[in-house]
């Protein structure tokens, strides 16, 4: 029997790894991938508490988180494509100002 706190600590570690990646990487696509890591850590927390309470509202919440993440990924990647077309780079250090 695995205690629920093990799953929660794994989710916390995954969230902190994702946050570290968002703060440290300069490629906009890799930053996006680390945001997806953080969303998955939140999903894992939802499911761990759902198992503890015997209430599958956590599963429904995780389902909606996955759907919203899909919508956000498509729009975000379209924005990255548009920025690449106008600036020629996806390095976030080189996209400092909104005016080109």
């Amino acid at each position: 029997m695995v205690p629920i706190s093990y799953y929660l600590i794994l989710a916390a570690a995954l969230f902190c790894i994702g946050m570290f990646g968002v703060l440290i990487r300069r490629n906009a696509l890799v930053v996006f991938m680390c945001v997806e890591l953080m969303l998955n850590a939140a999903n894992l927390t939802f499911l761990a508490f759902a198992k503890q309470n015997g209430d599958f509202t956590g599963h429904v919440s995780a389902f909606f988180v996955i759907a919203v993440a899909a919508a956000e990924a498509s729009i975000g990647l379209a924005i990255v494509i548009a920025v690449f077309r106008s600036r020629g780079t996806v390095n976030i250090d080189e996209m400092r100002t909104m005016k080109h």
Binding site: V2, I4, L44, K51, G54, H59, F63, F64, S74, I81
Partner: protein
């Protein structure tokens, strides 16, 4: 030392290793493949949590659709190797690492201090109530959570139209 603990240990270690690969890989394609591996190992952990439907959805939607979209965009932008100019250990990176480590310490301490419940919901009780099966979750979504379901479908339509409009070179 039962099978569940061994499986959890294996999947958790592999998840953390591939997540570390995501943030430390040299080029974007390696990060994307490591993220696909992370999603697969996370789906294994979801199965250990009796969340079968969400595990299958994770593989279908996250690892199957979202990551394919990522890989298409990476190949479309045709990025080469990362030109890592400048020093590796700048002040902002050290501050970022300290912030992440601090948050990890706070979260782990608060989880450790949580009151421990006697048992978790599993076994014959879970099988009898259909915990985590598609039928039960579908029933809940279409009765109690109908408004969020319709709102998410509208959100997906808006996201689809928005993605096409934003990414087109000439409207």
């Amino acid at each position: 030392m039962n099978v569940e603990l061994v499986l959890f240990g294996a999947f958790a270690l592999l998840t953390l290793l591939s997540a570390g690969l995501v943030i430390f890989a040299k080029n974007a394609i390696s990060s994307a493949m490591a993220l696909v591996a992370t999603f697969f190992f996370l789906a294994g952990i979801y199965v250990l949590l009796w969340a079968h439907t969400v595990a299958v959805l994770q593989v279908l939607v996250y690892a199957g659709a979202i990551m394919v979209l990522f890989l298409f965009v990476i190949m479309l932008l045709n990025l080469g190797e990362s030109t890592a100019t400048g020093p590796r250990l700048t002040l902002s990176r050290i501050a970022g690492g300290a912030a992440a480590a601090g948050l990890l310490v706070v979260l782990v301490v608060s989880i450790w201090k949580m009151p421990v419940r006697a048992e978790t919901f599993t076994g014959p009780q879970a099988i009898a109530s259909g915990f985590g099966t598609l039928a039960v979750i579908g029933q809940t979504i279409f009765t109690k959570w109908l408004l969020p379901f319709e709102a998410v479908s509208l959100l997906l339509l808006v996201a689809m139209v928005g993605a096409v409009v934003v990414a087109k070179s000439r409207i």
